[in-house]
Amino acid sequence: MNNDNNNLIEASGFTLRYGRKTAVDNLTFHVPKGRVVGLLGHNGAGKTSLMKAMVGLHGGTGSLKVLGLDPMAQRAELLESMSYIPDVAVLPRWARVHELITLMSGLQPKFSAERARKLLKRTSVTENDKVKSLSKGMVTQLHLALIAAIDSKLMILDEPTLGLDVMSRKSFYEMLIDEWCDGERSVIISTHQVEEIESLLSDVMMLDEGKLVLNLSLEEMDSRFVALAHDPAAADAVADAHPLLRYRQQGRPAALFDGAPPAHLDGLGQRFRPSLVDLFMALTRKPEMQRQQA
């Protein structure tokens, strides 16, 4: 990610522990404005812990500033200026939609009830619906409509589409991009559905066992990582070049390299752009790379 004076998030040597277990280990990164950042990692990699730290629900050591504020010490002030969906299905089930709009209006100073109603018109949710009568997908759409109606600079989404069907997931991300992202605001999305959000992202951060193993823009990713599809006969030569990952791509063996593959391999196959999923697999499986990045 580009360094910028307008960083919305800045972390330096940030570590978060639960007792003896280190959930987030010595992270240093920044998120400038106008970015859509994918926070990727296996279960237990530290994604949710990091996000909770960003919204002041967990404290750690080192430095973490969000919108220039200390999340733990200035939590209420911070939450007035950011949007956060912690997880799916956390809206109070007893509430009707218009009651949630009323409550958000009273609790969140930058919330616009008018905008929330406008966003709700994109969905099949009506103001008189009770949360408990809505499907999981509709609840998620409702939650996004509510927090997208907050005039904030930063949105943090922790597995927002977990458990939703493909239509609901697509609708969710369409609304997010159409109605909230404007080039000035930044979003951090943690998800396992990497392939679905790859086209939305401007940047990607990968966590593995609490460590940041990758943090770069997708443009940088395209120029840095190269995949090579090759014939089975060239497998030994490719393996000797120590790729990050060997896998199959459309039925053919393929290898993923950090940087250009050695020149002598060029004639043995065709280069192509590796997907984020392949890169994720490569970086969170390969211990050498992790140590190097750390």
Binding site: V90, P92, W94, E99, T102, L103, S105
Partner: protein, 298 residues
Amino acid sequence: MTTTKRFSTLMQREWMQHRIGWLVVMAIMPVLMLCALPFDNAAKLPPHAPPPTIFALLGVAIGMLVVWGLSWAVAMFQMPGLARRDQQDRSIEFWMSLPASHTESVAATVLMHALLIPMLALAVGAAAGLVLGAGVLVKLTGIGALGSVSWGAVLSAGLVGLLRLSFGMLLLTLWMAPLFMLLMAASAWLKRWGTPVFIGAIIIIGNVLDKFYDNPIVWRLMSAQFEGGRKAMFDAANTLKNLKDESGFDNFLSQFPGWALQDAGAAVQQLASPHLVGGLVVAAGCFALVILNRKRAT
């Protein structure tokens, strides 16, 4: 956004979530009594019945007592469960994604359930009692009895009584705070075992100290809290009986406002008690424990 607006919104949230239950509890007794009124054909006015105005005022008093008593009992019964309500329905993550602190959230819950809703029940009870009193009068002596009631005096005395009881409710909440906050803290940390463990611990510790060490301190402390609460609510200096005996029904109404003011003053004076101060310290500690548990839940 001011803290006041945020806090009032959190109280509004309590109303939104619990209003149906609260309104049902407040309405059930008056509605049942009103429905039963036309069918009680055996009822007759007793020979030494008070004058119609006092009779109507009794209706207001009984209405307040019944509706408030039921509502307060239900609220106290609910209090332990409120400590973990948001964790149980998983909505705590939503509330914590908004700029409201744990302290504000818990305080709004306690304030609404322990104080404001019982106060509302007093007002509802007074209004329902007025209607019921009039209904009973009509039933016993005919529609003409309504004309012999001094409604202005009933309304003013009823309002004074309502104000005195509402103020008493505030003081009662302070006296009872250690008990319901202990129950809330126990439920927050021990979940469904909280209330039985708390009650069991009180019974066992109280009996052990009393029977084996001849030290009934637990019973004394609890008795002091309940006695303080009772006096806070009404007739703090035990002077109501004197007022009636000395002045009779005729002068009772005119002297009632002055008596209520003095009684409120006596209730305030009784706040200067080590029992109350100690209880509030315990309540504050339990409040902190509930907050701590809530923080850990996120």
